[in-house]
């Protein structure tokens, strides 16, 4: 068995990476342009919709599915099984990788072609399979580029969004011999040719799942390129892999989620393909895989499920709108976070998958501006969850003790002492008034430099008199005039 530990990822040193990204004008430009475009497209796609009602419906659909999650998973399993699709359960990433490896080994499979799947990124499946001598090739163009560059996706919907045409052209030239070109059509056509060979020769196709429908046993996939359809149709075996939270009760539940997903993600009314798979190839059908498997992956999700607040994280339909609208993500891009899922959704999800000790920077990497929560198609209260995780990080609440893996990891003696002091000052009005009055009186002694703040700003200047003093003076002069109000 190979050594496989997705938690030992590159999680450290958020700050140096952020600094580097901020200094990279190319990268910042790439993200700014892309995010501006995506925000505009999303807005246009919802024109004429009662978006608030649609989001409320989307949230309710997800909440109802989660409320019945264990029953729905069993129903899904029994429906899929009777449709001829084999269902597997994995408690963690390692087990999920092992299941897929075992299916490949039983089929003597040497090559796996992959459709886009964030869960498989979370599992680091490609590395696992390669260590077992099985080639795993990404077929989504963005993923293909990222894999070739030996990087990870910087966005969950647009994996190669951090690169520009020049960089991609150079990469394709170096790795595949494609002529250097600025013609995106040419670059795309050349990838089409290379990947078609791979599809024809692949032994197994691995895909993700956007929604799994319990009542009919249907796996739904959303995509534009057609690589998802290729992956799930051409190789003789298709393995779908998904988080346990993706199940919905019925086909009717799919409609609002689909309407929200594609518009929120890329501003499309619908993606080019919506692919619904319910069976392996049936007798007489001339194409399609003879075997279809579904791997249901927990990997921390059942832990999130336990908590009334945190469970909202599991509503996510992976549209990426929170990233597109996040001013922090827009400035630094996805790689800075160092995790499979970056941006706001990553910051509320990854701490559960890796523990707060490994992800301590994530809940703080937000100005809590609320843009993410405002655009979330299923109304996940992302800012509130960020604050919740900050609380968990410092074990800051004796009424609601921490429950998340690694809670309390950021509780430092000096910082807690500072907040104690702050509390002492602000919970004692007399002390507060005296302190602020003194500060105002001796404001000339205020230092002009205040650490990081004054690197790009002047220091805020204390007023000569506090509002408390001004109001006290007013009240005093009023009462001496006419005995009036306070």
């Amino acid at each position: 068995m190979n050594q496989h530990n997705p938690t030992a990822s590159q999680v450290q040193s958020f700050h140096p990476r952020a600094r580097e990204a901020l200094q990279n004008d190319q990268l910042r430009g790439n993200f700014r342009r892309a995010m501006d475009g995506l925000m505009g497209k999303r807005k246009a796609a919802f024109e004429g919709w009662d978006l608030e009602s649609l989001r409320t419906l989307g949230a309710a659909v997800r909440q109802r599915a989660l409320a019945r999650l264990p029953d729905l998973l069993e129903q899904l399993e029994s429906q899929l099984t009777s449709n001829g699709i084999q269902v597997h359960w994995a408690t963690d990433a390692d087990e999920a990788c092992r299941i897929i490896r075992d299916i490949c080994v039983a089929r003597e499979a040497r090559t796996v072609i992959k459709g886009k799947s964030m869960v498989s990124e979370e599992m680091e499946l490609n590395h696992y399979l390669e260590a077992e001598g099985i080639e795993a090739l990404e077929s989504d163009l963005g993923e293909y580029i990222v894999q070739m560059a030996e990087q990870t996706p910087s966005h969950i919907i647009m994996p190669a969004i951090h690169m520009n045409t020049d960089e991609i052209s150079e990469l394709l030239h170096r790795k595949t011999g494609t002529d250097r070109s600025h013609d995106v059509n040419y670059l795309t056509a050349s990838a089409r040719q290379q990947l078609r060979e791979k599809f024809m020769n692949a032994d197994v196709g691995v895909s993700g799942v956007n929604f799994a429908v319990a009542e009919t046993g249907t796996l739904c996939l959303v995509e534009n390129e057609g690589n998802g359809r290729m992956t799930t149709t051409v190789p003789p075996c298709h393995i779908a892999v998904t988080g346990i939270e993706k199940v919905v009760p019925s086909l009717a539940d799919v409609a609002p989620l689909l309407a929200l997903l594609t518009r929120s993600a890329t501003g499309q009314h619908l993606t080019t393909y919506f692919n619904m798979i319910s069976r392996p190839r049936q007798p007489g059908e001339p194409d399609g895989p003879e075997a279809v498997h579904l791997v249901l992956v927990d990997n921390g999700r059942s832990g999130i499920y336990q908590d009334d607040e945190l469970i909202d994280t599991l509503r996510c339909i992976r549209c990426g709108a929170c990233m597109n609208h996040c001013p922090v993500y827009t400035r630094v891009g996805g790689h800075v976070y160092g995790t499979t899922y970056p941006g706001p959704i990553g910051s509320i999800l990854m701490p559960h998958l890796l523990g707060l000790d490994e992800t301590r920077h994530m809940p703080t990497a937000s100005s809590l501006c609320g843009a993410c929560g405002e655009v979330c198609p299923v109304k996940i209260p992302i800012p509130d969850l960020l604050v919740r995780l900050r609380r968990e990080s410092v074990d800051g609440d004796s009424v609601h003790p921490g429950v998340v893996k690694g809670h309390g990891v950021k509780r430092g003696r000096w910082e807690s002492l500072a907040w104690r002091g702050w509390q002492w000052m602000h919970a004692n009005p007399g002390l507060y008034r005296t302190g602020t009055r003194m500060a105002a009186r001796f404001r000339a002694l205020q230092p002009a430099s205040a650490g990081a703040w004054t690197r790009v700003r002047t220091a805020p200047r204390l007023a000569p008199k506090t509002l408390h003093q001004l109001m006290k003076q007013r009240a005093d002069s009023n009462s001496s005039d006419n005995g009036g109000s306070r």
């Binding site: 998973l73 520009n164 059509n185 359809r229 319910s278």
Partner: protein, 217 residues
Amino acid sequence: MTSREDILQRLRNRRDGELPMPELDYGSMTGRDWSAAQKLDLFQAMIETVHGEVHRATDEEWLDTLAGILKQRQARNLLTPLKHPIGAEIRASGHPDLPELLSYGEPVEHWQRELFNDVDAAITSTRGAIAETGSLILWPGIDEPRLMSLVPPIHIAVLEADQIFATFLEAMELQRWSAGMPTNALLISGPSKTADIEQTLAYGVHGPKELIVIVRQ
């Protein structure tokens, strides 16, 4: 304990207890009272915004339309369904401008390379369309296998004008999808595309470069 039992047990013994079941209000997704003509116009407008091409034709003229489309593109051949009436009509027509006619008569394994490399165009029927999103509904199967609408560079789809639904939700309800799903059901909205290289649209990345709809009125 198996992983299955382990996961299900954790979900069933939830620490914070029962979860609420909020009401569902589908009001924002229903009430599209469009006439047949409005639905056709909207369908066409929507699929054209995503690079789909639409030709309207009567039952009498549709074969001419088809032949014209193929001739203009210098298609060397056309993959047709074996049993569906559109396949039969095409073969029976003996239209002089039609290219060589192919059929998906055997399992893909027997002719995969030819399918991938030598077929220029394929024609399929549809189970209708969705006006709101400009989408075609396909249920591929024995007669019109899954790769027909995916592998050849040109996909021509025949849509009956009276089979356009307002929304996906309406289509699923009226066609009673929940009573039984096929091996594969598809919504197709335009040709295959990608924006993965610097947000620039390129067509035909894995599937067809062109999607042409013939609406029969």
